[in-house]
Symmetry: C2
Subunit: 348 residues, 2 copies
DNA sequence: GTTTAGCACTCTTACTTCCCGAGTGCTAAA
DNA sequence: TTTAGCACTCGGGAAGTAAGAGTGCTAAAC
């Protein structure tokens, strides 16, 4: 498919304008738009050609043209110029990311919030474990004679904890022994390696009449099971209601409900490589609910064990340029922070 | 204000029906409704009286009546019977709560989700610290020569952690010393007690040429600052779009946007005592955005240091009976779980 | 051959008008 | 005090109308 320069320019103008206004774009508007020296009639002829190529369509006779999904695809692939984020924007993202990265568990949800704020579209964030998790290290913190906190550091660098309250008193040395047996026998192994025999043998080894091992192992299994599941977060759904394409509450509701379902989010397309953004337009989406919407996703990696996905959902008329730039930057920044250390590019 | 039995019964019928259908209730419908032996004309006369008392109103002449906010208030205060949750329902809540209480930090957000699911209205959850937090205990977990996790257990029983990666190598004994000085000097004190002098003296005491103390204390301050702030979660906003009163996207958007603002959520009314639910109807709300909506909130306490709030937002035509029962039960269950231990009433 | 101007045509959107029916308030009788 | 009957009111949906934007086509101009 070969497009003349003029056709490209017209297509780009139509897409840009339609992204902004959500109104079909007429030939006159295109002709008047930046620096065309030809009349609207000429534009009309070209637009007919673009329509026959399947890049534009008319919602009805005698309305302006709007891009088809294929038109958006061509725009995204060939016409869209990668937008440079301004210094202020990168600064802001850096600052926001850095201040959010206090607690490992929360980063992902915070990254989602940030994305939604910056793009003005709903954003979702997922974590996905590539490998099965194991506990790297247990720690026990005594609160009082009845109470302690069991802390587990997992192989994906996250930390889980549980407050344990017992009806009977426990001595410090019992907890110490519990800690050592947990660290000796239950670290570095996956959920399926925790057998009843292992538990019994561990209980014997410290003469565990109180059943502390059983409690701790129960918690461990809970954690490992939960960590196999994916975490997901959705924010900024109210942005959808801003858009004219969702002024019909039914549509908005369907899509928000769809996005609220963790299981569905997991099925969404993911980019192959970290850092870059992948764009899925309208009917390219497999899910029926998203046939009228577009999804932009970026991936980041944390070590080898874990990866995360941040995505933005909007109408096909999404501002692809802006969204994909910002998303890619955020994903990259996250990757740096999580696996690198404290500094982001641009920091001194 | 004295209401005859018949008037009470009529008011209750109107409110119940309007809650279900969202349509103005006519005299005929009331007359036919359960067991009235009088004609619609009699009902009409009574309804005029109720209207003059300010309990009912007509959206326009020749439509049925709908309750005024005052009408709802009377309904809530005098006519509503506390609904007993069914055994299945309490079982389900118990099960859901128990399985969620793995990780202290997440409980509150999970409780919000649960509430929203059970009531079919949007729910929000807040934590509020009554007292300033302190770190109870530090723990350091070594990952490799460049990396360790700093874990802090706070006085509110939550656990915070931070992955620290350095460009230079650190020895195990350096970390051990860091741990002891942190536990010796930085536990049990509030944010404002962390003075530069304290930091310098701590650094000297372990000959900290690597600046580890500075990093750890920086993290501590971050945590204490953040824990003073409130956490808030909002879920189930899509339920709003089900309701006819929010079929206008503008209204829905305004209220969702309002609820997404943490600062505003904090201003919402809170119940005085834990366990019971407080109901705020329409114009009783101070916020302009909520003048057409009602809020049901319940509070739970965790020890003396912390308390949390769970709230449900819906139209004035909210199913107060159902919502307040469930909310009270959930709040109660949470309180038990968080401060008591493992068992819920009804468990064996 | 390409571009332009002009014109008739189409289709949506917004606005007005009109009718229907549900539900009321009043009055008079039971 | 309750009931039946009746005229009246008003919102909502259907139908009809006018305006406007944008098109496709044709014929002339470059």
């Amino acid at each position: 498919m070969e497009l003349s320069d003029r056709k490209k320019r017209i297509l780009r103008t139509v897409v840009d304008r339609y992204i902004q206004t959500a109104e079909p774009v007429g030939s006159k508007a295109v002709a008047e738009s930046c620096g065309f020296q030809v009349s609207s009639a000429t534009i009309r002829n070209e637009m007919v050609a673009l329509e026959q190529m399947g890049l534009l369509e008319q919602p009805h006779t005698s309305a302006g043209r709007i891009p088809t999904p294929l038109g958006y695809r061509v725009y995204v692939n060939e016409l869209m110029e990668q937008q440079r984020l301004s210094l202020e924007e990168t600064e802001m993202i850096n600052r926001a990311l850095r201040s959010k990265v206090q607690q490992l568990d929360r980063i992902i949800s915070e990254a989602g919030k940030l994305t939604s704020q910056l793009t003005n579209y709903p954003a979702y964030a997922l974590t996905a474990k590539v490998k099965e998790c194991t506990v790297e290290r247990f720690a026990i913190v005594t609160i009082d004679a009845h109470t302690f906190i069991l802390v587990a550091m997992l192989s994906d660098d996250s930390v889980k904890n549980k407050l344990v309250r017992l009806h009977y008193e426990i001595r410090a040395d019992q907890l110490t022994r519990l800690g050592s047996v947990l660290n000796a026998r239950f670290t570095g192994i996956g959920e399926r390696d925790i057998t009843p025999e292992l538990i019994v043998s561990a209980e014997r080894s410290i003469d565990d009449s109180l059943g502390l091992v059983a409690i701790a192992v129960g918690f461990t299994i809970e954690i490992l099971t939960a960590s196999r599941a994916h975490d997901s977060f959705l924010t900024g759904t109210s942005h959808l209601l801003d858009l004219p394409e969702f002024k019909d509450t039914d549509k908005a509701q369907k899509i928000i409900r769809y996005l609220s379902d963790d299981a569905e989010l997991l099925k969404l397309p993911a980019p192959d490589a970290a850092g870059s953004a992948r764009i899925t337009i309208g009917p390219e989406n497999l899910a029926e609910e998203l046939k009228d919407s577009s999804v932009v996703v970026a991936r980041y990696n944390v070590g080898d064990d874990m990866q995360g996905i941040i995505g933005v959902v909007g109408p096909t008329r999404m501002d692809y340029t802006q969204v994909s730039s910002k998303l890619a930057y955020i994903a990259q920044g996250l990757g740096w922070l999580l696996s690198g250390g404290f500094t982001l590019p641009g920091d001194e």
